[in-house]
């Protein structure tokens, strides 16, 4: 079904996810290659967000949700770990930018430390803030008002602040759940450029229902349909020569 990637960072084994009785993921076997951008795409309701939320155990935060199967992050089964430890290694960026409105921009970047009860020396903290904001290409825009609240920033800036917040704790894996769905085209392009730049430093999994976005940013693409993994492979291959007719139908816009 897929050609083996050189080095995998995350691997799922017969992963099933449920809301109450409803089976949303029906046994997913997927390997995410390290230091690459992997897109998960599919029509709405196919379970792509659920799959992503399994990778940092956020799925279980919803009442009535549970999972079966195995997810290995660098060989360790994260479903048997404490979710808190998982989330320190796996960062997440949400659909809607969600900077904490009670914290300044500076505090927002450091939220991953503060919320985890980690105390930083001042120089350390300043270094992390600057580095993370630079990685998120936000530093030049906000460096003069780091101690103001982030709520006055534009939607795109807020989303990049959330990316900086996720990067600040040096995650092994960054999950992005349709990170541009609430943004205008210009802000979307900046986030997409950022994603391509970031893959040097961090593995990214991005959920999108926008096939052209997957084409622009992803090295690998997984196509999910009705809770099943239909096809997974290098983006170019999957786009030019889909093996499954359903993938082809989706790509040509027959559904979704």
């Amino acid at each position: 079904m897929k050609e083996a990637p050189m080095e995998e960072i995350l691997k799922t084994q017969d992963l099933k996810a449920y809301f109450e009785e409803l089976e949303i993921l029906k046994g997913i076997n997927l390997s995410i290659p390290k230091n690459r951008v992997t897109a998960i795409m599919g029509p709405s309701g196919c379970g792509k967000t659920t799959l992503l939320r399994c990778f940092n155990r956020m799925h279980e935060e919803t009442p009535g949700a549970h999972t079966k199967g195995k997810i290995f992050l660098e060989g360790k089964d994260i479903l048997s770990m404490n979710p808190i430890l998982v989330r320190k290694m796996v960062g997440m960026v949400f659909q809607k930018p969600n900077p904490f409105p009670t914290m300044s921009i500076y505090e927002n970047v450091l939220a991953g430390y503060r919320l985890n009860g980690i105390k930083l020396r001042k120089e350390e903290a300043q270094g992390i803030v600057e580095e993370s904001l630079k990685k998120a290409v936000l530093w030049d825009e906000v460096k003069d008002f780091l101690h103001r609240r982030g709520t006055f920033l534009s939607g795109g800036q807020q989303q990049r602040l959330c990316i900086a917040r996720a990067l600040a704790v040096n995650p092994k894996l960054l999950l992005m759940d349709e990170p541009t769905s609430a943004l205008d085209p210009k802000a979307t392009r900046r986030v997409e450029e950022l994603v391509t730049e970031l893959k040097e430093a961090v593995t990214i999994v991005i959920v999108t229902h926008n096939t052209s976005q997957a084409g622009r940013v992803a090295d690998y693409t997984a196509f999910l349909y009705l809770g099943e993994l239909i096809e997974f492979g290098p983006t170019e291959e999957l786009f030019t020569a889909p093996k499954d007719p359903r993938t082809e139908e989706y790509l040509t816009g027959k559904f979704g």
Binding site: G117, I118, E124
Partner: protein
């Protein structure tokens, strides 16, 4: 970089959960104690005799509170007659007519009245009704209760009616229905359950009010139907009996409290059930 161990953080989290559980459950202890004592102490003294006879002089055992039960009912009924039409129509004014200054002043006044201690409202009713008539009266008592009910009814009516969709109003107006009919026959019925809930809740509240009755309705050991005469009420009886030196009256205070709480809970639960039904629709 100094990091707290995960074990410590999880331990803190568990302690916090336990503390929050405890903080939420401890306030229920007095509630259960009050209800338990009301039922255990009140039920033993509750009898047909208690419900149907008049009080006896102090020191003499027996007697009942029929005057207070009927008095409470009469007071709440009269207060409702005064407050319901006024409150509903004033609420309609706030939701349906767009004057410039007056509505906000009325809203502020209603909020102000709602926050006014009931004892202060008792003084007002005393000044407005008792003084001109030169004696305490059921009318003064129900006026005081009506002033307490009024702001609740006004604000609930307004809140419920502004939620009635514009389409419903326009649909009625498009049929050539005059505005007052549109309001009374289309808008008000749409929000009726909500308005009724507000009315019942305000009735439940004033049925238990004591302070504003102290120097308006005053109390009366005999049966009375006249609005211009003093009248008794369950809360007044409870207060007078509980603070009296007679053990038999203490017993009767518990029984009267049981009657009162059943009355209040009946009104209150009816209102809340109605509200829930509306919410489910």
């Amino acid at each position: 970089m100094k990091e707290q161990g995960i074990a410590l953080r999880l331990w803190k989290d568990r302690v916090a959960s336990l503390v929050i559980f405890a903080l939420a459950l401890i306030p229920l202890i007095p509630l259960f104690l009050i209800l338990f004592q009301l039922f255990s102490k009140g039920a033993s003294s509750l009898s047909l005799h208690f419900l149907t006879s008049l009080p006896r002089p102090p020191g003499e055992a027996g007697g009942g509170v029929v005057n207070a039960i009927l008095g409470s009912i009469l007071l709440v009924a009269m207060a409702s007659i005064l407050a319901v039409p006024t409150g509903v129509l004033a609420g309609i004014y706030l939701s349906e007519f767009y004057d410039r200054l007056l509505p906000n002043m009325v809203r502020t006044a209603a909020d102000l009245l709602q926050g006014t201690p009931s004892i202060v409202i008792g003084i007002m009713a005393c000044a407005w009704v008792v003084r001109p008539l030169h004696h305490f009266s059921a009318l003064a008592g129900s006026a005081a209760l009506a002033i307490i009910m009024l702001p609740v009814i006004v604000r609930t009516t307004e809140e419920v009616l502004v939620l009635v969709p514009k389409e419903i109003r326009e649909g009625a107006l498009a049929l050539g229905v005059p505005r007052w009919r549109m309001i009374l026959q289309v808008v008000l019925p749409t929000g009726l359950v909500g308005v009724a809930t507000g009315i019942l809740l305000s009735m439940a509240r004033v049925a238990g009010e004591t302070a504003p009755l102290l120097f308006t309705a005053f109390g009366n050991p005999f049966l009375s139907w006249k609005p211009t005469e003093p009248i008794d009420a369950l809360p007044l009886v409870i207060f007078n009996y509980a603070t009296s030196p007679y053990a038999d009256w203490w017993r009767q205070a518990w029984a009267a409290s049981l009657v009162l709480i059943l009355l209040v809970l009946f009104l209150n639960t009816t209102a809340r059930l109605a509200a829930r039904k509306m919410g489910g629709r």
